[in-house]
Amino acid sequence: MKVLVGVKRVIDYNVKIRVKADNTGVETANVKMSMNPFDEIAVEEAIRMREKGLATEVIVFSAGPAQCQETIRTALAMGADRGVLVQTDAELQPLAVAKLMKAVVDKEQPGLVIVGKQAIDDDSNQTGQMLAALLGWSQGTFANKLHLADGSAEVKREVDGGLENIKIKLPAVITTDLRLNEPRYASLPNIMKAKKKPIEAVTPEALGVDPSPRLKILKVVEPAKRKSGTKVKSVAELVDKLRNEAKVI
């Protein structure tokens, strides 16, 4: 069984983002970019499946500008086998990414797709669910644990009240939550090896997908800043302020 993993190139999670002065978006020039942290967990899970003999090949998908090659290369250095980049400079929204990914799924015929539950840039939390819908597949979202059985998967999901177990038919789309695994670091020899692994580049047109955005971003602004507060010297002073100044207890 092949496993397809989706990875997104995003502003590194440690970077403090800046809104552009003209309010059209967020400054991305000369900013450190990395793989979306949830996607690292997806890559790790797929590689572990191959190491256990549950998967035969791990294919990494990304969509976006040419630099997404670097993100795919990171996944290859972790241990994935090859990459597919849908290269475009157009703005891509979740529905478009799901359609592009579906086109690649149709061609590659994986038995499982794993993606991060959410990208830390647009915080949409949509692509995996949308892909499952377009394929007519089941979905195991916010996965905390994944167990493959014959023709089905048992997924432990992180839900608002705790954890939930579901059984889904394969093929399926899994979206990862934080506790699914701890992604490995790529070793230097593996980084070198990854340079020789193949990455196929295709275009949305070649896949027959119209990736035009359906949501118009009218403006992006900074949220109102909280006024900085005061330091209190003792617990007694804190409780006094909460009772008599803030009046919240």
């Binding site: 529905l95 949220p223 507060g229």
Partner: protein, 311 residues
């Protein structure tokens, strides 16, 4: 314009988060219909009919909806969608699971986690963990939206008298089944609706030490939350997590104990009315958003706080 709101329910009552989505629907304007899907869900439908502002309740009563499996509920919503201009759900683990599936089946975009309505097709939503706010216009005919509960007040649970219409089940998609759940049991209020939250971070050093926070929470009738670091370390279960990808909360009072204040955590609580931080590191970023900061060893300060609150 008619808006369909997917309501979540439990034990014959509509969940609080859904009341916030109904307020969002009111801001969009038009008739508001509420969908109750479930097994033996008539009491919940009756409760939904009493919510102020609801025009009609649709009841889909079938065992296939008992556990809100995305494949089955999405199929149901899609079967109802042609009658609606907007499909809304609260951005809970249920809404986030189902609604993108609905959107893709309808070939429309979804607007995730809106915090305000600017026009019937234009909404504000946080991006980058709330470090930027995007105003987005949805161009598709049907708008699929998830609502961040903290952005809207709860609609009054009483005052309405909507009619209840039974709708046909869309059946089992045959793709998934529910096995069981391991839900945290607590006598305390739930995190998203608690008036006061006491949260602990890595500084708590163990799950055992969370008892110190529970003692404070008992005094204030508060919920107990945690940072990702505390959840990853195994001190508390995943459903305690407050942050960008955990729960988003905005209580009257948020007490952060031993939490350094990573932006991913701040994203989940910085809209709280009053924030208190207790941390021994005076340079911890949490102090930049705290209204009241106390630089102290939590193992001394927290028991003192419990004692002081008893006075």
């Amino acid at each position: 314009m008619t808006i369909l709101v997917l309501a979540e329910h439990h034990d014959g009552a509509v969940r609080d988060g859904s009341l916030h989505a109904i307020t969002a629907a009111q801001k969009i304007g038009g008739d508001i219909h509420v969908l109750i899907a479930g097994q033996n869900a008539k009491p919940a439908a009756e409760a939904a009919a009493k919510i102020a502002g609801v025009g009609k309740v649709l009841l889909a009563d079938d065992a296939v909806y008992a556990n809100m499996l995305a494949e089955n509920v999405a199929k149901l919503i899609v079967s109802l969608a042609p009658n609606y201009s907007h499909l809304l759900a609260t951005a809970t683990s249920v809404g986030k699971n189902i609604m993108p599936r609905v959107a893709a089946l309808l070939d429309v975009a979804q607007v995730s986690e809106i915090i305000s309505v600017e026009a019937p097709d234009t909404f504000v939503r946080p991006i980058y963990a709330g470090n930027a706010l995007a105003t987005v216009q949805a161009t598709d005919k049907i708008k699929v939206i998830t609502v961040r509960a903290t952005g809207f007040d709860a609609a009054p649970a009483t005052g309405g008298s909507a009619m209840i219409e039974t709708v046909a089940s869309a059946g089992d998609a045959g793709l998934s089944s529910f096995v069981g759940s391991e839900l945290s049991k607590s006598e305390r209020p739930e995190l998203p609706s608690a008036r006061v939250i006491v949260s602990g971070g890595r500084g708590m050093q163990s799950g055992e030490n969370f008892k110190l926070l529970e003692a404070v929470a008992d005094k204030l009738n508060a919920a107990v939350g945690a940072s990702r670091a505390a959840v990853d370390a195994g001190y508390v279960p995943n459903d305690y997590q407050v942050g960008q990808t955990g729960k988003i909360v905005a209580p009257e009072l948020y007490i952060a104990v031993g939490i350094s204040g990573a932006i991913q955590h701040l994203a989940g609580m910085k809209d709280s009315k009053v924030i208190v931080a207790i941390n021994k590191d005076e340079d911890a970023p949490i102090f930049q958003v705290a209204d009241y900061g106390l630089v102290a060893d939590l193992f001394q300060a927290v028991p003192e706080l419990t004692a002081e609150l008893s006075k």
